[in-house]
């Protein structure tokens, strides 16, 4: 093989290897980056109002399934008593926890800066804490683990990029963002099938998650007409139209029934 032939030989070999092994393809973004942040709309803080309310439940409380974690003994060890599914849970006073309440329409004309602080999703006792959380598009979601076992965080969005990351015991926090608004993104753990969290992504800061008293407050709302929606994992969603006047505190209660 003379020099010229040798050179062609190697060119052909390299090309074949690139084809065979898959030449590095230009990365196709499944999801365009969030548009460059627009300047925040000035809001007159002296006139902002709020919407508060209570999410209640009528009817017979559903029987919650007991979650048995025996496949992974370290999950069992972290609980002193039986663990029950959080979906469908009703507070003792008849209110609903884990309802995600947010402004569905009415806030489109405002732009809000992306918060610099992150929102935490913890894994403790092979359960997600909190079970339901809200975050703004582009804001950092920080995923932590306190469990001495591996987890596999797997959000299943419709409008955002799907990802699936493993986190070993004592692993570094995982930081991710969702660039588009989406109500709600279920999150599962591929290792522990019972683990579930729900993430509500909004383009504004007007959201809240109900706790043990079933109440919520959406603060800092500029005067205007809003549709607010209450989302629950088990009992469906409801919405209400609310008009907030300058510095007004409005009430919007919701009542769910067993579906």
């Amino acid at each position: 093989m003379n020099k010229e032939n040798a050179r062609w030989f190697w060119i052909v070999v390299v090309v074949l290897m690139m084809v065979g092994c898959g030449a590095p393809e230009p990365e196709v973004s499944e999801q365009p980056e969030a548009p460059a942040e627009q300047a925040a709309t000035p809001i007159d803080q002296s006139t902002v109002g709020s919407i508060g309310g209570k999410i209640s439940f009528e009817g017979t409380k559903p029987k919650l399934a007991r979650i048995m974690m025996d496949q992974d003994p370290v999950c069992v060890e972290k609980h002193s008593g039986p663990v029950y599914a959080e979906d469908g849970m009703v507070n003792d006073d008849g209110t609903l926890p884990n309802a995600f309440v947010y402004v569905k329409t009415g806030a489109e004309k405002y732009n809000f800066p992306t918060p610099t602080g992150s929102v935490e999703l913890d894994q403790d006792g092979c359960l997600y804490k909190p079970h339901v959380l809200g975050i703004m598009a582009g804001q950092t979601l920080q995923i932590l683990t306190k469990d001495p076992t591996s987890h596999n965080i797997h959000p299943m969005p419709k409008d955002n990029r799907e990802w699936n990351l493993s986190q070993p015991p004592g692993g570094a926090a995982i930081e991710q963002k969702f660039s588009r608004p989406e109500i709600m993104i279920p999150v599962k753990c591929n290792q522990h099938p019972w683990m579930r969290a729900y993430i509500g992504v909004t383009r504004h800061p007007f959201f809240a998650v109900t706790g043990k008293d079933g109440t919520f407050t959406l603060k800092g709302l500029p005067p205007g007409e809003y549709t607010i929606e209450a989302w629950t994992a088990t009992f469906g969603t409801q919405e209400q139209k609310v008009t907030v006047g300058p510095s007004e505190a409005k009430t919007a209660d919701f009542s769910f029934k067993s579906s």
């Binding site: 919650l64 399934a65 007991r66 979650i67 048995m68 974690m69 025996d70 496949q71 039986p82 599914a85 959080e86 979906d87 469908g88 591996s150 596999n152 699936n164 493993s166 279920p186 599962k188 591929n190 290792q191 522990h192 099938p193 019972w194 683990m195 579930r196 994992a233 088990t234």
Partner: protein, 266 residues
């Protein structure tokens, strides 16, 4: 140099054989009524192949030493072999190989192509990425139907049961652990929710794939109470390495008590 080479080959042969002979890394104990036949077959295969291995290796060592360079300038003489000898040992190896296979096949067929004894405890085994679930039919002895649209892992409905509507589902017991009674025949029906998995308990000498869309029965009787690992032995995705559960072989009383506790927890 030839002597050294012959010694190394001999040493490797002796150490390898000794490891098997002394049973240093041997099988875990057999806890099934059928396992002795499998163990016997494996030991027979090991003995036959072991003897051939030792003879072949020692022969190699001997010829390396016998045909060493004696420093007299003789050139190596290449032989094209002996057709008769070649044919003989190829046929012998073939007969041995096919014979061992047929013997093993008979044992496998006896385990898989015979029905479970009447009265065997019926349990369903469900594989999913990446966990095992087990279903007991409850006092009515019937498994309720499963509904794909009802599957919701977050509320513990892993199999899609409709306990409100389906009478047979009301008393079904779904657990993450497989408990079975000792010394009683058990029939497992293997089902998969997603991809191919494989059920394996080393001590049971039982391995069988779970194939989506199929219901595959296996049966056995466990003879030793204890807790054993169930591992998935078919690469089923990223979390395959962690797909495991436990087999609890219990006395009749403990089994009844366990079933009662699990029924109460449904």
């Amino acid at each position: 140099m030839a002597l050294l080479m012959a010694l190394v080959v001999t040493l490797i042969t002796v150490i390898s054989a000794a490891l098997f002979w002394a049973r240093i890394w041997w099988f875990p104990p057999d806890i099934s009524t059928h396992g002795y036949a499998i163990d016997r077959q494996i030991v027979l295969t090991l003995a036959v192949t072991g003897i051939i291995f030792i003879l072949a290796q020692l022969g190699l060592a001997y010829f390396v030493w016998r045909n060493r360079d004696r420093g007299d300038g003789r050139k190596a003489n290449y032989s094209h072999g002996n057709d008769k000898l070649e044919a003989t040992w190829t046929i012998a190896a073939g007969v041995l190989f096919i014979g061992l296979n047929l013997m093993g096949y008979r044992i496998w067929a006896n385990m898989h192509f015979t029905g479970a004894e009447p009265g065997a405890a019926q349990i369903e085994v469900w594989g999913q990425q990446f966990a095992w679930y087990f279903r007991y039919p409850g006092p009515d002895g019937k498994f309720g139907p499963t509904h794909v649209e009802k599957i919701n892992d977050a509320i513990g409905n892993f199999l899609g049961l409709d306990r409100d509507k389906d009478e047979a589902s009301k008393d079904d017991i779904v657990t993450p652990t497989l408990a079975i009674p000792v010394n009683r025949p058990v029939q497992l029906t293997l089902r998969s929710k997603d991809v191919t998995h494989s059920f394996w308990v080393r001590e049971l000498r039982m391995k069988q794939d779970l194939v989506p869309g199929m219901e595959i029965p296996i049966h056995f009787t466990a003879t030793q109470p204890g807790r054993y690992e169930i591992a998935c032995v078919e690469l089923c995705g990223m979390g395959h390495y962690r797909m495991r559960a436990f087999l609890e072989v219990l006395s009749d009383e403990d089994y009844a008590a366990w079933l009662g506790r699990m029924a109460a927890a449904q």
